[in-house]
Point group: C2
Chain length 213, copies 2
C-alpha cells in the first residue's frame, strides 16, 4: 500500500539473492570512499553482512568512518577497545562458524579462485597502506590473493574487494546450496528495507498503530 508494486518486487528479488554464507571484514579502512565502494560491491553481489573493525593507532589517526551505505547492508562495528577490536571480530566470526580468509600476499597464499566454499567464509581486507595487522594475519584460517601477471603488484582496495566478491559469489550461486537467508532473516530485512523505502515511515507506522487502538 505504501510502496509501488515494482519496489515490492525489487525488495523480494534482492532478498532471494542475499547471503550471509560469505561475509566481508574491513580492518582499519579509513578512506570513506574505499569503504563505501566495498559496501556497494557487497550490495551488488548480494553479500548482506559487513564487519567494520576500527582500531585506533598511530598510522590511522582518524577516529572513525561514517558510512552512509548501511541502508541495504548490515554493518557490525568493532571499535570499543583500544587494541582488541580485531580479536573481538575474529571471535565473533569463529563463534558463528566462519572460516576466516585474509586477503594478502603471503607465502601460504592461494588464489581467490581456489578458495574452498565448503564452509561459511569471511574475507578480510586490510588498510590502504599498512595492510592487515599482525593479529589479523596470524589468526586467519587461510589466505587468498588475486592472481596477477603484470608489473603492478597490487590493486586499490575497492577494486581488489570487488574482484574477490565477484569470484566467490558467482561460484557460490553456481556450485553451492544452502547459501540463502532463512525466513526469519528475510522477514527482518524486508521490514527494514520497506522502512527505508517509505518516506516518513515512522509517521505511517504511528498512524497505523493509532488507527488500531
Amino acid at each position: 500500500m505504501f510502496v509501488t508494486e515494482e519496489r515490492w518486487q525489487k525488495i523480494n528479488q534482492v532478498l532471494a539473492n542475499r547471503t550471509k554464507f560469505i561475509t566481508v571484514v574491513l580492518e582499519d579502512i579509513y578512506q570513506p570512499h574505499n569503504a563505501s565502494a566495498v559496501l556497494r560491491s557487497c550490495d551488488c553481489f548480494g553479500i548482506q553482512d559487513a564487519h567494520i573493525i576500527e582500531n585506533k593507532n598511530d598510522f590511522n589517526p582518524t577516529k572513525g568512518v561514517t558510512i552512509g551505505a548501511d541502508q541495504w547492508i548490515s554493518l557490525k562495528k568493532y571499535n570499543k577497545s583500544d587494541n582488541h577490536n580485531t580479536e573481538q571480530c575474529y571471535r565473533y566470526l569463529k563463534d558463528h562458524g566462519y572460516r576466516i580468509i585474509a586477503t594478502t600476499p603471503h607465502e601460504d597464499e592461494v588464489s581467490i579462485d581456489e578458495v574452498s566454499l565448503d564452509q561459511k567464509t569471511a574475507l578480510v581486507f586490510g588498510a590502504e597502506y599498512t595492510g592487515l595487522s599482525d593479529y589479523a594475519l596470524e589468526n586467519a584460517d587461510g589466505y587468498a590473493k588475486i592472481p596477477m601477471v603484470g608489473f603492478s603488484e597490487s590493486f586499490n582496495i575497492s577494486v581488489g574487494a570487488a574482484i574477490c566478491l565477484y569470484e566467490l559469489s558467482t561460484r557460490l550461486r553456481k556450485e553451492c546450496s544452502a547459501w540463502e537467508l532463512d525466513e526469519d532473516e528475510k522477514l527482518h530485512l524486508r521490514y527494514k528495507w520497506l522502512h527505508n523505502s517509505i518516506r516518513e515511515a515512522d509517521m505511517v507506522e504511528e498512524r497505523y498503530f493509532s488507527d488500531q487502538e
Copy 2:
C-alpha cells in the same frame, strides 16, 4: 648487463603472460584516475593493448587525458576527428579480427561470464555519466554486463572494468590456446620494457653503438 637478473626474469615472465587476444577500448573516459585504474588492471591481467577514444563533445569539454601508465601497456589513441573517432577505432578493430563487445545494460545483453572467447575480443567501456555513444552501441557485435543482484545498478568504471578483465582473462588462460604474443611482438616489447627499466637508456645505447664503430 644493465638490468638485474631479477628484473630480466620479471620482464620475461610478464611477457609470457601478455595477450592481445583480449583488448580494452575506453570511449571518452575523461577522469584520469579512472582511465589510469583501468590501465593498471590491464597490466595486472596481462592485457597488452588499450584503445583510447577521445571525442570532443558538449558533455566532455576536457580536451584529453594525459595518462602516465603507458609504460607497460600499448596505447592507441583515436582523437584526430571531431565526430568519427569511435568509427575509426571500430574499423581498426574489425580489420584486425576483433569481435566488439559493448559493456552496457541493454536488452540483448549477456552476462560477462557467458561472453564467448572463440574469437579475439575487444571490450568497450563508456564515459562515467553518459555511457557509450549511440555509434559505439549500435555498431558493437555484442553486449555484456556484470550480473548484479542488489539495489545498486552500476559499478564505478574502474571496478566494472577490473571485474570484466578478471573474468575474461582468467577464462582465457584456463580454456583457450593461442592467446600468447608471437615472437616478434615479444621481441618488440622486451626491447621497450628494457629501455623503460634502464636509467639513461638512450645514453647507454649511444655508447654501445659508438663502441661498435
